[in-house]
Symmetry: C2
Subunit: 261 residues, 2 copies
């Protein structure tokens, strides 16, 4: 059991979640997932990021005791060591060091009734994580992000996904033009506050790529480099706009209900 | 212009947003709203919390220059003073000290096609603020919170509402039993992950009170002290559950579309 607060393991984990974490994560191909839910998903899901090491306190281990840990390297640490590694107030005794998946967009296969979410320069980790979580719940096929979007493996995003990183593939840093060139004939919609077509009136035929722009400035359809149909969420009330993850959740649910219904 | 970092104005604002802020806000009947959007809403909306003082830098003032400031006390402060008052990295040069509305639930009037949101012991400020913002967008009549729910006038909630506190009335600390005794015949629904009725199949006749439970443990229908119909959000995918504000946004949109359609 590691008890020393000078252990190089602490520096290693902290480097991946600190202020220069994005660079470290990219260079090492590793990211950090804290807590019970992420560790459980990582151990039980067929897909998603592979675990390299689980750092666990005795209490943390007891929370995953019934799972098959045979193939995973477990490093037991003291409570103070786990706290020193952690980004949160209560890391629940478990921190997993995971391999960042190297997903290539050329491998993305659509089913004929797939929904794909494309996030254009979104910045807020909470929004990104919540969108991934809703996408997973609504049976979305994949989440694709543009260059200059938030790092989907940053600690806050990973936490907000609540384990969904293990259920749905993420493709990062893909331009919309590149995505559109792979799926030229697929229906593409852009959520926009000034569109005249309501998401409720939209006809979905086959696969659909739904685009969401930056939290503050959205995205101009003309700037995307491929044709999209602009759609809006009808609002009976006063608010100028919805929070991005709330809007995306409404769109994903509506698309999911259209496909099902 | 206040330039001293020892100004009692700084201590006054900080007390309202600090770790003991909830107690201070309750005792003083005041809360703090930062930024351009909240200040604009406060100055232009007919309803909502009244401004007591606006603390503004020269740059902050320029952002609301075209608005009628005649009836409001403006206190000009230096950039460092505003920063010292602030809860955020970029307070945008404007901090408003506002009177907490003393809304009494007995004044709540429904229209016959009203939706009311009831939040039972919800804890996350971001969720609370996002729900209020979506409620405003969807034309919800009021948001009511239970005892032991997050303080709707805490800085994080106020920020997440993006000004919606000025468009929609909030009633805090009301038990569900009390609400139900005022509206005994109104349809009441509870979002629950294990319900068999889909929100899509729900028939809405007249007013509707929609209940959402705590982020981690939800709320047991039997514990509410009044009858509710449990409904669920159909999910095609894998995620165990949705983020609370995502789920609430989907429900509010669906209810809004039912009333409109």
């Amino acid at each position: 059991m590691i008890e020393s607060l000078h252990s190089p393991h602490i520096a290693r984990v902290k480097a991946l979640i600190g202020s220069k974490g994005a660079k470290e994560r990219r260079e090492q191909g590793l990211f950090v997932a804290e807590g019970v839910q992420c560790t459980r998903e990582a151990l039980t899901s067929a897909g998603g990021p592979e675990i390299k090491i689980i750092y666990a306190t005795e209490q943390g281990l007891s929370k995953i005791a019934e799972l098959d840990l045979g193939a995973v390297e477990i490093v037991e640490v003291s409570e103070p060591v786990l706290k020193a590694m952690s980004d949160t107030v209560s890391p629940q005794g478990l921190i997993s060091l995971c391999h960042t998946p190297e997903n290539s967009i050329s491998e993305l296969a659509l089913t004929g009734s797939s929904t794909v979410i494309y996030l254009h320069e979104i910045q807020d980790p909470g929004n990104a994580g919540t969108i991934l979580r809703t996408a997973d719940a609504m049976g979305v096929t994949a989440v694709v992000t543009s260059p200059d979007s938030v790092d989907m493996y940053s600690p806050k995003v990973v936490r907000s996904t609540a384990g969904s990183l293990w259920n749905i593939p993420v493709y990062e840093g893909v331009t919309f033009q590149a995505l559109a060139s792979i799926f030229p004939d697929t229906q593409k919609i852009l959520l926009s506050s000034h569109a005249s077509t309501s998401i409720l009136d939209l006809k979905i035929a086959g696969d659909c790529i739904a685009v969401f722009g930056n939290e503050a400035r959205g995205v101009d359809a003309a700037a995307l480099g491929a044709a999209v149909t602009e759609v809006t969420i009808p609002m009976a009330g006063n608010a100028e706009s919805l929070n991005l993850s709330a809007a995306a959740s409404i769109v994903m649910f509506t698309l999911s209900a259209k496909v099902a219904g």
